[in-house]
């Protein structure tokens, strides 16, 4: 075993390397919600057009038509409501924290997980931004390790400046620990 007393202890800690758990940006809820609603709306309107067409052409009629309409009338608002509410519930349970020697992300609402990555194990990082995220100036930091079960660890809703800062700090740490 090679123990290096200086490994993982960086010379200058960023202000948030205090081990206190932080929430992701509130804007992340909005981004998730908008994305989820757009997806639901597209699928539901395609389904509505299909349903309307089958009834208009007479392929679907009688009890079957009524039943399908009833299912649609239940599923559509339920899906939209879920798409609107879920991101907030998920955000409530999510978080991230940075310790001097490792970074952690907490994810999931029903199946929850906390992933800890020792900083010396970071192989490389991505800062990702979708169009919606760009509008809210947030970004997602993806940390890659050499692992196999979960070699990509995502910090999904950081302020863009924080994500970049964290990335730069991580890169500076791992640069000294050549594999």
């Amino acid at each position: 075993m090679e123990h290096d007393p200086n490994a993982g202890i960086p010379p200058a800690l960023p202000p948030y390397a205090d081990g206190i758990e932080r929430r992701f940006e509130v804007a992340w809820i909005q981004v998730q919600r908008t994305g989820g609603l757009i997806f639901a709306a597209v699928v539901l309107s395609v389904a509505a057009v299909g349903l309307f067409a089958s009834i208009a052409t007479g392929n679907l009629h009688g009890a079957a038509a009524w039943a399908t309409c009833a299912i649609y009338a239940v599923v559509a608002p339920a899906w939209l409501a879920l798409a609107a509410l879920w991101p907030k519930l998920e955000w409530d349970k999510a978080g991230w924290r940075v310790l001097p020697d490792r970074i952690e992300t907490r994810r999931g609402l029903v199946w929850r997980s906390v992933t800890s990555v020792p900083i010396s194990r970071v192989q490389y990082t991505d800062v990702k931004q979708g169009p919606l995220m760009r509008r809210h100036d947030i970004a997602s930091l993806v940390v890659h390790t050499a692992g196999t079960l979960g070699s990509e660890v995502e910090f999904p809703g950081l302020a863009r400046s924080t994500a970049v800062e964290l990335r730069d700090w991580l890169v500076a740490q791992t640069g000294s620990d050549a594999v």
Binding site: M1, H3, A7, R102, S116, S120, R121, G150
Partner: protein, 492 residues
């Protein structure tokens, strides 16, 4: 990267022989099938001409492949139209594997695979180089390794003389134990029967008639016994033969932190694996192994392909296929000095683990039991009850015997009611520590602690993943393990 002027080499000239033979083997089987079905002169026979461009392509590739050893890298040039030059630094090479079929052996050449971490296929494949060239390649690659290891020798104190010691050799008796795998044996038998049926062995009139006459002349009890004995001998004989072909002369040697494995009756295989490249160790003991006082050891490395039947899977399967229980500590401490599973302080799972495992087993069994009782009310119930009892028993036994251990630089997890599996990884190989909670876990204030390593590419190896821990304990273990991992330098 400065590299001395290196001599470029082609593949060995004699290697054209196995190359063309290999291609012929691949093409002759379909060709033979075509011939078999089209006995008369049919146009399909012309398909055999496809052989020619394939062989020409092979020869062209063979001609254009050149390799050289630089100061600290292997350089492979290849390609006809799309040319590539690949530089593989010695320091990145995980292992150098050798494979020799009988033809290779007659010509004193070998197929060599060079693997690095990551990537799903070997970094470089030298289909046929001379044995001397292989030895030179191996020496150069791993000489760099030893130098690198010496320059930052902060642990181990392994300035041991580079003499090699044999850690494990398998006797014929060991191979026999290994071959006692009824399922695989049955599969071989089924395949053999299917093939012989396919090729009409049973349809030949004289065979069938002789067989019928013999059956009529023999008393039924004797007949059944003879048939059963014959099937058993055939099945286990075939299984034994397959094991001997794969593992004859198996030897695991260690010298200066380097493991060397050699095996094979007809096709020789040699693998070289630096100790530090081992990411995950799995010790498995079936009830059967227990009866013979043996265990099986497999290791996970970061290199290689996934499930492709290539070097990596073979190495995982064959690191130490069968070890006397008393010899296990010597093998484990060769992997990691001082590692001894019996000396670890094993910590049990939470008390409720048994209950949860029982519920889980019974819930899984419920649909099956329901179907059984629905179709056969009386006999279904009679059969389902003992099955449920066995499930409960093994769930409780499994929970009681499961546990994890955190020792100096080591994290281990053992599980299994009957077949016991112990998975071990090391601080410097831990990539991430994950704490997971399902809704059921939350109800019991439990959590699952999963340790991610680079050696889990082979899903056949059990990783360190400890369920049913009290949440507080799981968090404490997570914190300790993550901090320890951060302190230990990761080396591939």
């Amino acid at each position: 990267m400065q590299s001395e002027v290196a001599r470029e080499r082609h593949l060995a000239t004699s290697s054209l022989v196995p190359l063309i033979l290999g291609r012929s083997k691949n093409l002759l089987l379909p060709a033979a099938l075509v011939g078999f079905y089209a006995r008369e002169d049919r146009w399909e026979a012309w398909l055999a001409l496809l052989f020619v461009p394939f062989v020409l392509g092979d020869v062209a590739r063979w001609l254009t492949l050149r390799w050289s050893l630089g100061a600290d890298e292997l350089v492979v040039r290849k390609g006809i139209f799309f040319r590539s030059v690949r530089h593989v630094p010695f320091a990145r090479i995980q292992n150098v594997d050798l494979k020799q079929t009988i033809v290779h052996r007659l010509l004193r050449i070998a197929a060599v695979r060079v693997e690095t971490a990551g990537g799903l296929e070997p970094e470089a494949e030298l289909d046929a180089i001379t044995l001397d060239a292989y030895e030179e390649l191996r020496a150069r690659v791993f000489a760099g390794r030893a130098r690198g290891a010496a320059s930052d020798a902060s642990g181990d104190g392994s300035a041991a003389p580079p003499e090699s010691r044999t850690l494990l050799a398998l006797s014929l008796g060991d191979l026999f134990i290994l071959s006692l795998r009824p399922v695989r044996a049955a599969a071989i038998l089924a395949a053999a029967l299917g093939l012989s049926h396919e090729y009409g062995l049973f349809d030949r009139a004289d065979v069938a008639q002789g067989f019928e006459a013999w059956i009529e002349a023999t008393p039924p009890v004797v007949l059944a016994l003879v048939l059963a004995a014959g099937a058993i001998v055939l099945v286990f004989g075939l299984s034994f033969a397959a094991t001997v072909i794969a593992l004859h002369g198996y030897q695991l040697e260690e010298s200066d932190g380097m493991f060397r494995i050699r095996r094979g009756l007809f096709t020789h295989e040699r693998q070289t694996l630096p100790r530090g490249r081992i990411q995950l160790v799995e010790v498995r003991r079936t009830l059967f192994d227990r009866a013979f006082g043996r265990v099986r050891v497999r290791v996970g490395t970061a290199g290689g392909e996934v499930g492709g039947g290539g070097g990596n899977r073979a190495r995982g399967a064959h690191f130490a296929p069968l070890v006397h229980y008393e010899a296990l500590p010597s093998i484990l401490s060769a992997i990691r000095p001082g590692l001894d599973l019996d000396a670890l302080a094993w910590e049990p799972l939470d008390q409720r683990a048994g209950r949860r495992k029982v519920v889980r087993a019974l819930l899984g069994f419920l649909p099956f039991a329901a179907a059984l009782v629905y179709f056969q009310p009386l006999w279904g119930a009679v059969a389902a009850l003992p099955m449920a009892a066995i499930l409960v028993w093994s769930a409780l036994r499994g929970a009681r015997r499961a546990g994890f251990a955190l020792a100096d630089g080591v994290v281990a997890w053992r599980q299994g009611a009957f077949t016991t599996t112990t998975s071990v990884t090391f601080d410097d190989k831990v990539q991430a520590v994950v704490l997971q909670e399902s809704p059921f876990d939350r109800r019991h204030r439990h959590a699952l602690l999963a340790v991610d390593t680079a050696g889990g590419l082979m899903r056949t190896l059990e990783s360190v993943s400890v369920p049913y821990l009290r949440r507080e304990r799981a968090e404490a273990v997570r914190d300790e393990l993550a901090a320890r991992a951060a302190r230990a330098h990761f080396r591939w």
